[in-house]
Symmetry: C2
Subunit: 415 residues, 2 copies
C-alpha cells in the first residue's frame, strides 16, 4: 500500500541471470504487477552477455523473429522470446522482465537490488556497480554461502553492503530453483532488518553523532560494518518496511517468512552443506533413516552453536530450528542434493569424494567440501574444533583421517 | 555409580515383547551388564503368551533342544534360543533377558518398569499390575501416542502413572525398532523429571501438607494427576537420577538425551503422524523436495503451538525443534514411514487413504488417520482449528472436503 506523500515507486533490479536469478526475476516481476502502487512495473535483470543459439527443435525457433535465429546475444533472446533458453529453459518469463547486459544501466534508479550472482563474482560486480547505484538503495542477497577463513567470517550480504555502502538483507531457504520456476510450492526466509535511518522515522537516539543517517546497530552485523553510514530512503518513496519487502517475494507458491537475523539466514545456507555431506556418508553405510535423521538433528544444533558463538546476540536459535533457511533447507539438502548424493556414493563405493566429483560432476567442485575445510580452519584457529564434533568429523572423513562408521562415537555426547 | 549407603540394586522389567519391546529388552539388558553396581543383572520381559512353531528352516531348529521343536510357548522359545522368533526374528538377545508370561511375576520387586505395549492394551495391563508392583517403582513409557478426545488430552505416561500411582516418564525418538535391534546408529529422547520425593532429598517446601511424599508439581503434568501421592525411593537404592536413567538406555549405537518435558516428548510421537500424512499427500503431487520440507517445517511449528497451548509451561519449544522425539522423528516418518507412504500413494492414485489401507496394509489402520481425527475433534471443541491450518487441512483431505493441491493456500500465512 502506498503511503501518503509517497508518489514515487520502487524500481527493482535483479543482478544475475542464472538458473536462480532468472527464477527470482520471474517471481519478482509477478509481484510488481500485483503491487502497482509500490513498484515500478518493469523489472530489469542484468545478464552476463554471451552468445546462444536457438536450435531448430526449440519451441521458439518458429515463434521468434528472424532476428533471433542462429547465434544471438542471450539478453536479446530473453527479451524476444521471454525465456532464458540457456539457464532456465522451458519457463516463460513475464513480459515485464527486461534483460540488460549493461551493468550500470541495469541498476539505474533502482531502489531495490536483488543479488543472485555466483559467490565468486560478487566482489567484482559490486566494484563495477559502485557509483552507479542509487545511494539509498537496499539490497537482498540471494546467493548462499559465507566466506570463512582464519581471519573470520564474512557474509555475502555483508560483502555487498560494505562495498556499496547500502543495507543488504538475505534470502535463503529450501529452494531448488527449477521447482520454484515451475511454481511448485515452497517456502523461503528473508532476513531484512535495516537500522532506523528512514528520514520520516523519529531520529533514533543511539549516539550523539547519529542523525537521519544512522549507524548500523552493532548487534545486527559484524563489527567491520558498524561504522558504515547508510542513506535514508527519501520520503517520496513508500517505506521499505518488512511488510513491503515481503510483497516483493511472497507468491502463492513461494511463501515468505521475514526475520531479522541476516547472519543466521546466511550461515544456514552455508553450513547445511556440511550436514548434507555427513548425512550422505552415514546413509551410504546403509544405516537407515534413524541414523540419517540423527545426523541431521546433531548438525542443526551445531549450526545453532556456531551462530551463537561467532555472531553474539544477532543470531537466533529459531532461525535454524524453525525457519526454511535452517531446518527445511537441511532436510531438502539431505534428501537429494549434490553434496548428499556424492557423499553417499563415496561411502558406498569406498572412493574418496574427490574421485566421485570427477566422475559424477565432471570435475565441478561440491560446495560442501570447501565449506567444511573453511569452517574447520576457522574453528581450529579458535581452538574450538571439539565443540563441533560433526563438522570436525566431516573434515576428518574428507581428509581420510577417520571413517564414516566412526561418526556415532565421534559425536557421542560425553557423560 | 552406586551411592554410599545404597546396597540394593534396581531390578528392571520390560512390560511388552513385540518388535519394539524386545528391542528395548536387548539394549536394557546390555546396559545392566555394563552397570552392575546400579542394576540387577536379570532383565525380565513380560510376554503375552502365545503358541509359536520353529520351522525346519529356522537357524534354531537344530540348535534348540527337543523341547523347543514343534509348537511351543513363545516365552519358552525366547528363554531357550534367546531370540523372539515371532516379533524380532534374527536378533540374538542377551542371555540375561528372561521372558515371563506371568504379569505379576514379571514385575515382582522391580523398581523400574519399561512399558512397551500397544496403545490399546495399556489400561488393561495396568489394571492387572495394580497391587503387584513395588509402590516406589518408576515407569518409562515407550509407547507412542496420546489419547485425544473432546474431553482433553491424556498422555500414555500419564495414564500409566495414574493407574499405578507411580511417576512415569517417556521415551520417544526417530526409532525404527528393527534398525536399533541391528545396532544401527540412532538417537532417542527420554523425558524423565520426577518431582522431589526421594527420602534423602531435603523436604521440599511446596505446601504445608507435603512431607517426604511430595505432590507432583502442577507445571509438570496434567491437572488430573496433580494430587497423586508418590512414594519416595528408599535410601538403600541408588538414586534414580536422570544420569542413572540415561545409563539404562544409552548405548554406543543408541544415543540418549534426557529432557524434563514428558508432555512434549509424548506429543511429538503422536502429532508427527499427522505431519507424515501431510508430507505424503504433497509428495504424491510430485512437487519435489522444497514442498515436502516446507510441510514438515510448518508441521513442526504446529506441534510447538499445540504443546504450548494445551500444556502451558511444561512443554518447551526445543523438545520439538531440537530433540530426536521432535524434528528427527518427523524427518524419519516423512522419509519412509507407513503414514507417509500411504498418503503419497493415495494422492498418486487418486484413491482415498482408506482404500490404500485396504490394499497396502491388509486393512490395518494407520495411526496418523485416527490421530488426525482425534486432534481435529479436540481442536474443534476448543474453537481453534484455524490456528492449526496444516492439521486441519489433513483432516479435511481425509474427509474429502479439500484436495492436497490446496495445502499451500490453506496454510499460507495471512497478511
Amino acid at each position: 500500500m502506498a503511503t501518503l506523500g509517497a508518489h514515487k515507486k520502487h524500481k527493482v533490479s535483479i543482478v544475475g541471470s542464472g538458473n536462480w536469478g532468472t527464477t527470482m526475476s520471474k517471481l519478482v516481476a509477478e509481484n510488481v504487477k500485483a503491487n502497482p502502487n509500490l513498484f515500478d512495473q518493469t523489472v530489469r535483470m542484468w545478464v552476463y552477455e554471451e552468445d546462444v543459439t536457438i536450435s531448430k527443435d526449440s519451441r521458439h525457433y518458429d515463434e521468434a523473429s528472424e532476428l533471433c535465429k542462429g547465434t544471438q546475444k542471450l539478453s536479446h533472446v530473453i527479451n524476444t522470446v521471454h525465456e532464458n533458453i540457456k539457464y532456465l529453459p522451458g519457463v516463460t518469463l513475464p513480459s515485464n522482465v527486461v534483460a540488460d547486459p549493461d551493468l550500470p544501466s541495469s541498476v539505474k534508479d533502482s531502489t531495490i537490488l536483488v543479488f543472485v550472482l555466483p559467490h565468486q563474482f560478487i566482489p567484482r560486480v559490486c566494484d563495477q556497480l559502485a557509483g552507479h547505484i542509487v545511494p539509498f538503495a537496499r539490497g537482498i542477497c540471494c546467493t548462499k554461502g559465507v566466506d570463512v577463513s582464519e581471519k573470520g567470517i564474512r557474509l555475502m550480504s555483508e560483502a555487498i553492503g560494505m562495498r556499496l555502502n547500502i543495507y543488504c538483507g538475505a534470502l535463503s531457504g529450501a529452494n531448488i530453483a527449477s521447482e520454484i520456476a515451475q511454481e511448485k510450492y515452497s517456502e523461503t526466509t528473508v532476513a531484512y532488518d535495516p537500522p532506523p535511518m528512514d528520514s520520516r522515522s523519529p531520529t533514533p537516539k543511539v549516539s550523539p553523532s547519529s542523525s537521519q543517517v544512522d549507524l548500523i546497530s552493532p548487534s545486527r552485523v559484524n563489527p567491520s560494518v558498524r561504522s558504515a553510514r547508510l542513506q535514508p530512503l527519501p520520503s517520496d518513496y513508500p517505506p521499505l518496511s518488512q511488510e513491503n519487502v515481503r510483497k516483493l517475494f511472497h507468491r502463492p507458491y513461494f511463501h515468505v517468512r521475514i526475520v531479522d537475523d541476516v547472519a543466521g539466514v546466511s550461515l544456514g545456507g552455508a553450513l547445511k552443506n556440511i550436514i548434507a555431506l555427513a548425512a550422505g556418508f552415514v546413509d551410504g553405510l546403509g544405516w537407515g533413516d534413524n541414523a540419517k535423521a540423527a545426523v541431521m538433528r546433531v548438525g542443526i544444533l551445531e549450526m545453532v552453536r556456531f551462530g551463537k558463538a561467532f555472531f553474539e546476540d544477532s543470531v537466533k536459535t529459531s532461525t535454524f530450528t524453525e525457519e526454511s533457511c535452517g531446518v527445511a533447507d537441511v532436510i531438502t539438502s539431505c534428501m537429494g542434493g549434490r553434496n548428499f548424493r556424492c557423499a553417499k556414493k563415496a561411502t558406498e563405493t569406498g572412493k574418496s569424494i574427490y574421485e566421485i566429483e570427477q566422475t559424477e560432476l565432471n570435475g565441478q567442485k561440491l560446495q560442501g567440501t570447501s565449506t567444511a575445510y573453511e569452517v574447520h580452519t576457522f574453528l581450529k584457529s579458535k581452538g574450538v574444533e571439539a565443540d563441533y564434533p560433526l563438522f570436525t568429523a566431516v573434515y576428518n572423513i574428507l581428509e581420510g583421517n577417520v571413517k564414516p562408521e566412526q561418526i556415532p562415537e565421534l559425536i557421542e555426547p560425553k557423560d
